[in-house]
């Protein structure tokens, strides 16, 4: 996904069915926002950032998982299962990069070293995501605020929450197993990366006060202390 050139204005789908108006909070220049008006079940479309092959791969995985029941009683980590949301993210034709205002204004003289840094599209949400609200985005999602229980964030890339993450999150929703979920307080109801699903343990459990990051290691989702620099080095190298 890193190699994809398109950093053109993507569409953010901020679904809040109970509230039919456009949200001014997330209307920024670089990102088109669009409220899904009315009918649910409508297909959510986003311009492509993921190569078609990868999407296909994701689909196949989902089909395989469909054959097994999703919910499991035992253990903290549930086996990989189907991703219902992923169906709703449909990729369209890639558009040539560097044509939007954003590109020419913000990223001038984009050199090869910048290419190495530049990740694909990211959306910034500067508010609390509340119960019943759902953010779906083809790219990375950064929330400056909390993600409350009963809400949902689905992203094809990484998810970063600068606050408490207590809802359901799905990173790498199109099958990217390298996607991560990081939060100041990582206490998700359910955490999904690609086709892996984990859930919070039953009963009381420790809730650390430091930032944590979840990623897939050796086929299991692991949660560890977020260490600055670690990611930086691996990415550049």
């Amino acid at each position: 996904m890193k190699k994809t050139k398109s950093s053109k204005g993507k569409k953010l789908f901020f679904k809040n069915e109970t509230n039919g108006v456009n949200d001014p909070d997330i209307n920024t220049d670089s990102v088109d926002t669009e409220q899904e008006k009315g009918k649910e079940g409508e297909t959510v479309k986003a311009r492509e950032t993921v190569p078609a092959q990868e999407i296909k791969k994701g689909r196949q995985k989902r089909k395989k998982a469909d054959r097994e029941p999703a919910q499991d009683e035992s253990g903290e980590f549930l086996p990989g299962t189907a991703i219902p949301e992923a169906d709703e993210i449909i990729a369209e034709e890639n558009e040539p990069a560097g044509q939007t205002k954003t590109d020419s204004r913000v990223i001038k003289n984009r050199g090869p070293w910048q290419e190495a840094f530049a990740d694909d599209n990211t959306i910034l949400i500067q508010r609390t995501v509340r119960s019943g609200q759902s953010v779906r985005f083809d790219g990375n999602v950064v929330v400056m605020g909390d993600v409350n229980p009963g809400s949902e964030i689905v992203a094809s890339g990484n998810i970063v929450v600068m606050g408490a993450l207590r809802g359901v999150v799905h990173a790498g929703a199109l099958g990217n197993e390298n996607a991560t979920v990081a939060a100041f307080k990582l206490q998700p109801m359910q955490l999904r990366i690609a086709n892996h699903i984990t859930r919070a343990p039953d009963g009381d459990y420790l809730t650390p006060e430091y930032p944590e990051i979840a990623r897939i290691k050796d086929g299991v989702v692991v949660i560890e202390v977020y260490q600055m620099g670690q990611d930086r080095q691996t990415k550049i190298g």
Binding site: A70, A82, P84, G132, S134, P149, E152, Q190, R199, D202
Partner: protein
């Protein structure tokens, strides 16, 4: 072939979800196969009350839209083998499903379960119409307040219009001492207005708040008076003849204190 029971009230906050969770757990505790269906799409709570929120992957909208099979969406309870939950969706709204879809769903569920218990949303609109579509029996929950009883009366009328005859009544959050002082409607007052059969009386109980927050239904708590009342209701549903519990019996801290210092 099971029975489909809808739990409704009209007014919000009278305890439909609590009642659904407790009756369902009570029935499952006696070894029956029970499925609880949350039709409160957009404001789902039943999963939280049962402590199963973190297990939800698919919901009722996914089932009716064909995104998954019914079996995949059913969540097995962590305490009882026979208890299952079909959760509502949180990011959709009531118009996501139609009464016909719910009717079809109930027909499928009752083939496999002894009891299909539907938690109805508050109100008399689309959500209510969805919830009662597949039901064969109805339980109306009310509290001893004029407003709740008024709404219950309206609901009973709507249930009859929908060919759901002889609904049963549960009076929730009754405070016997207030009734005694004449500050609260009594059971007789309520039945006088609603004129339907009484299925149970549940006293006000702090344990309900505690158990709801913990995600453990009160029926499992032997010290809870409300839990005892719900156990009785569950037994009555299975056809047992259980007398109403003695609500006058005092419990709680004051009683224990009085007993301790010899007032009683």
């Amino acid at each position: 072939m099971g029975e489909v029971i809808v739990i409704t009230s009209g007014k919000g906050g009278v305890g439909k979800t609590t009642t659904t969770a407790n009756i369902g757990t009570g029935l499952a505790a006696s070894g029956l196969k029970v499925v609880l269906v949350d039709t409160d799409i957009g404001l789902r709570n039943l999963d939280v009350v049962l402590g199963l929120e973190n297990r939800i992957v698919y919901d009722i909208v996914d089932v009716t839209h064909g995104n998954c099979r019914l079996k995949q969406a059913l969540i097995k309870d962590k305490r009882f083998e026979g208890l299952h939950l079909l959760p509502a969706a949180q990011t959709k709204d009531k118009t996501s499903v139609t009464p016909d879809q719910i009717r079809e769903l109930c027909a499928q569920l009752k083939k496999e379960f002894d009891y299909v218990i539907i938690d109805c949303p508050a109100g008399i609109e689309q959500g209510f119409k969805n919830a009662i579509a597949g039901a064969e029996k109805a339980i109306v929950v009310t509290t001893p307040e004029v407003s709740a009883v008024r709404d219950a009366d309206r609901i009973i009328g709507l249930l009859e219009a929908a060919e759901l005859h002889n609904p049963k009544l549960i009076v929730n959050r009754l405070r016997p001492l207030m009734v005694k002082r004449g500050d609260m409607m009594s059971i007789d007052d309520i039945i006088d207005i609603l004129a339907i059969d009484l299925l149970g009386v549940v006293p006000e109980d702090e344990m309900i708040v505690i158990t709801t927050n913990k995600g453990e239904p009160a029926v499992l708590d032997n010290n809870s008076r409300a839990g005892q009342a719900y156990r009785n209701v569950a037994r009555r549903i299975t056809g047992e003849d259980v007398p109403l519990m003695d609500l006058e019996a005092e419990t709680g801290l004051m009683y224990k204190l009085k007993k301790l210092i010899g007032f009683k």
